[in-house]
Symmetry: C2
Subunit: 234 residues, 2 copies
DNA sequence: CGCGTATTTGATAAGGCTCAAACGGTGTGG
DNA sequence: CCACACCGTTTGAGCCTTATCAAATACGCG
């Protein structure tokens, strides 16, 4: 499972905001110390409750952050894609993971050990600040999600999730959302039962807001979706 | 409204985790540059959407972070008390405030300008790391709240909110929760209608789980509340 | 092609929201 | 000191949204 990807960090195509603050020398350190892995679809990269010994940088692929609720049901609290750091929250707060991180498709990662990460934080202010900004930004997003769950109904939340997916992953040449999720995963993002989600998706289809063929969803009228979601900002 | 509190930071009774990493000299800087204010109950310290030019440190008092939802209803996403930093998320992420910060009682604060904060971040690794840990910890708490809202019913969430208040603010000598909130504020924390909240509170009262006289709530059986809330960890 | 899983549809029930009205405490002015 | 008005709280009734259970259908994989 563990292997070295051919690319050196400085040639890496993905652009992580934090790593852009590292010097050539520091990037060399990463390239030397990092371990690389490939995960197949559906694999658990990190398990809820464990304490990771470092962070992963996603080189290719997509992941979901999923928390197990008390009724044995999952809830997806965030998604990650190329360039995102995985598990940084837990490592920096020195807390155990509050969610499992599971791949949505084949995913290539580079592992950066905790010690190296903390070295950079101590020595490189730009890196440190960038990481902090990441955390604070994510905290803001979480706040939005909290209000949405507390105040919006399922229809509004679904519209918002669709727009969020579009903003984060974009669409391919045919206009389909660039991420494949099962109906259950959609339901776990929206916070509803799978059956309810399916009914609302077909409502949206009938209203001409989206097109959907099983795993392929195309947004036809994003502005109308935004109106449904009651978005003030997007 | 703005005045200097008599205490120098190094004598300040409140212990903010970040400030403990500052040197005597740096604390002097804070004491020199900070501005202090007193806010009466119900005053808005910072308004949602604005961009603060620094952070407040709470010297005395309690605040709520409240977001205005699309239906004109508030949702309380967090509470703050003595020693907490206000507005750090927005300042560090360089984003506008995602919530208004409103006092729950008379509150004394010290204002620390953005520039000074960033100086410390650049020069003092302990401070910087501590701030980062704060942000990452809060991010974890937000994640918990998201799962709770998505998966738990109102009764479970109310039990959890009561326990959270007890953990954060404790109880006075008579066993009453050390924070005064209206029924509407409780509802806005739980994410439900005021009427529903009132009904559930009186259910809890009938079941002997709590005592309540308007603004005074006493938890009688916290372990039973924890069972209702389905807490894995508390 | 056949099995297992994911998706879809239907029927029913419950949880929670909304509207309406009554009640209670508190502060103000006479 | 009392009467009144206002606001927060409480209770009731009906309805709507959403969850749950059950069953049918479609899809993907070996």
């Amino acid at each position: 499972m563990a292997y070295k990807v051919p690319t050196h960090c400085k040639d890496c195509s993905v652009n992580n905001a934090c790593f852009q603050h590292l010097t050539a020398e520091e990037l060399n350190e990463v390239a030397t110390e990092k371990g690389c892995s490939v995960f197949k679809k559906g694999q658990v990269i990190m398990a809820e409750g464990s304490k990771p010994s470092g962070v992963f940088c996603i080189n290719r692929g997509k992941v979901k952050y999923t928390r197990l609720g008390s009724e044995g049901r999952d809830h997806i609290i965030r998604l990650g894609k190329e360039g995102d750091l995985i598990g940084y929250r837990s490592v920096l707060a020195n807390e155990s993971l509050s969610a499992s991180i599971v791949t949505l498709e084949e995913t290539h990662t580079c592992f950066i050990p905790k010690s190296l990460l903390f070295d950079f934080i101590k020595e490189n202010n730009g890196f440190s600040l960038s990481l902090m900004q990441q955390a604070c930004h994510d905290l803001g997003e979480s706040g939005k999600m909290i209000t949405n769950l507390a105040q919006k109904n399922v229809r509004q939340r679904l519209a918002e999730v669709l727009l969020m997916l579009n903003a984060k992953f974009g669409a391919n040449e045919e206009g389909h959302l660039n991420v494949k999720l099962s109906r259950e995963e959609y339901a776990n993002m929206v916070g509803t039962a799978t059956e309810t989600l399916i009914r609302l998706l077909s409502d949206f289809k009938q209203e001409g807001l989206i097109e959907s063929k099983v795993k392929m969803i195309r947004l036809l009228q994003p502005n109308k979706l935004a109106a449904i979601a009651q978005l003030n900002d997007f």
